[in-house]
């Protein structure tokens, strides 16, 4: 049974695990997937890619941003049997660009980056968008778990 007390204007309730076992009867308003105000995940309701998705980290905005967008767009819209197989040139171009900035785009086998990092895993600004993550059909590496800022507090904000 929960226990409750009032401290002036502030109410305090203590609950055991059993107290909270029954499902909540609080009502939440259903979300409108086409709400223009909402931040969307990687894919917008129109099907387009949201280049501003925090989940991408700085990939679309850095020095190789244009190459990244080109390659990733190609992949996203590719209808080949092996998705993206028609985009090899663009990915190569992106890779060449990224190799010129090893500080920003460390290679897979390198140790932790020296400075800031374009990749989402340590991006200080990236958000994990709550539910829309799942709808992305992007290569795994791009959607590595992200970090919004210095602490785990923001990891799923």
């Amino acid at each position: 049974m929960s226990y409750c007390r009032q401290e002036g204007k502030d109410r305090v309730i203590f609950v055991t695990k059993e107290d909270h076992e029954a499902p909540s009867n609080a009502e939440l308003i259903a979300d409108d997937p086409n709400d223009p105000y909402e931040d969307h995940g990687l894919i917008l309701p129109s099907g387009e890619i949201n280049w501003n998705c925090p989940c991408l980290g700085g990939m679309a905005s850095g020095p190789c941003g244009e190459q990244f967008k080109s390659a990733f767009s190609c992949f996203h819209y590719s209808t080949e049997e092996v998705k993206g197989s028609d985009c090899v040139d663009k990915f190569r171009s992106m890779q060449e660009c990224m190799q010129r900035y090893p500080e920003l785009y460390p290679q897979e086998d390198e140790s932790a980056p020296q400075g800031g990092d374009e990749t989402p895993s340590t991006d200080p600004l990236a958000h994990i968008q709550d539910s829309d993550q799942g709808s992305a059909s992007a290569p795994e590496a791009v959607l590595a778990s992200e970090d919004m800022s210095s602490t785990d507090h923001s990891a799923t904000s």
Binding site: R11, S24, N25, A60, S61, G116, L125, S149, T151, S157
Partner: protein, 536 residues
Amino acid sequence: MLTEPAFILKSMLKVQMSWPQHISLKVVRSHSMEDLFFCISAAMEAPVDALPEIPAHAPYLLIGGGTASFAAARSIRARDPGARVLIVSDESDLPYMRPPLSKELWFSDDPNVTDTLRFKQWNGKERSIYFQPPSFYVSPQELPRVENGGVAVLTGKKVVHVDVRGNKVRLNDDSEISYDKCLVATGGTPRNLQVIERAGEEVQKRTTLFRKIEDFRSLEKISREVKSVTIIGGGFLGSELACAMGRRCKSSLEVIQIFPEKGNMGKVLPEYLSNWTTEKVTKEGVNVMTEAVVKNVSYQDGKVVIKLKDGRVVKTDHIVAAVGLEPNVELAKSAGLEVDSDFGGYRVNAELQARANIWVAGDAACFYDIRLGRRRVEHHDHAVVSGRLAGENMTGANKPYWHQSMFWSDLGPDVGYEAIGIVDSSLPTVGVFAKATAKDTPKAATEQSGTGIRSESETEAVASSEVTPVAAAPREPQQGEEYGKGVIFYLRDKVVVGIILWNVFNRMPIARKIIKDGEEHADLNEVAKLFNIHED
């Protein structure tokens, strides 16, 4: 953008090759032509020296080099292909994040931390406080001509005048830069106490107003050299610094914290929780003096002497004043921007726009929040969210502030919370708590994921690790175990406008949803169930 006249011109010029090389064109002070002339000179491949150090025009000009500006720059680059973004910062550092300056950097074991400014993140990986290393940016000089655009940072320069009708700014060195879109993200300056300002040079040179990298470096050095530091202020910054220094310098430094409220975070947390937090801060080695109002400060016999109104006296070696932030609104007059008299800062609409082609984001923005009303927010995540939104709107999005920003604080290993919305202790609150077990601290949360922030010795046990009894009848909570973890709702006219997640992590999306709905809930315990506070 492909329709940009400069782009078309550049392509045309490449065909025409009859121009002599190295033409240096006089810069014409008419901004619509600015871009064209620069592209001409770029197409002629003028040597780099011929290009001015400070570009005469920037399509996107961001005033201020902090978090909001950086977030806007990134947003603009994501949405406008090839965008050229110029950040003008009066600091000498490239954009960096502030939270680690009062938290993680103090916990680092690296003796070179003041040089490297690197810290360990939640996932165990190290990173720098700088958002990006220098190689990410292009030079201001090259910004107008670099092929895919980029972000340039002009450091050590201050914008002193904005000509809104002429769409241009003037810097402190008298150079002028015209723009198409402008962001004001000037942040704020730490407030000082009048008693300190009146106290003379000897006191003032022993006082730190903490905000920037140089303040961290200076205070870190001081904390190793003096015997006693006193922090004035009981809010986020003051409490975090007190805990950080108390913890880092336990045996060698006396850390005192004084403030007028009854407990730490007294303006944010309901009284019972503020009291509980104060106890925890004390356990971090801080001598907390509550209900302390400073009457005067002087320098006597080699000590800084702080006299309180109630007669108490504090003798210390150094003061850190953490008594709030004054938003930087010096540009209001020249730019004809409205300043808000209730909250301070530049007044902007829900889309963060102040005037034609001018947006404001971050600490300096007093904006209209459709759900919660007009407000001004001084947190890191707000700088990120508002900076990103301003960048979107500068590239044509026209979206209002909608995605609520959050904030967090860690006061030692046992007290960590995340919060969202309006969290003001003057509002009525409803707090729903579970009894905490050893598993429910920020330290434990990271350890469980296999990525401990710092190692702890085995003898450093966490208190109150009893197993929750299966009881049908209510049980009076025991001392010290009361507010281990839970969720606190802040109400305004029966609607939840703010939520604190107390030692409960990874639930922010639910909290955000409840605020967004803005519904009246008859039983907040039912709402609390949504958070599953008993689980990890």
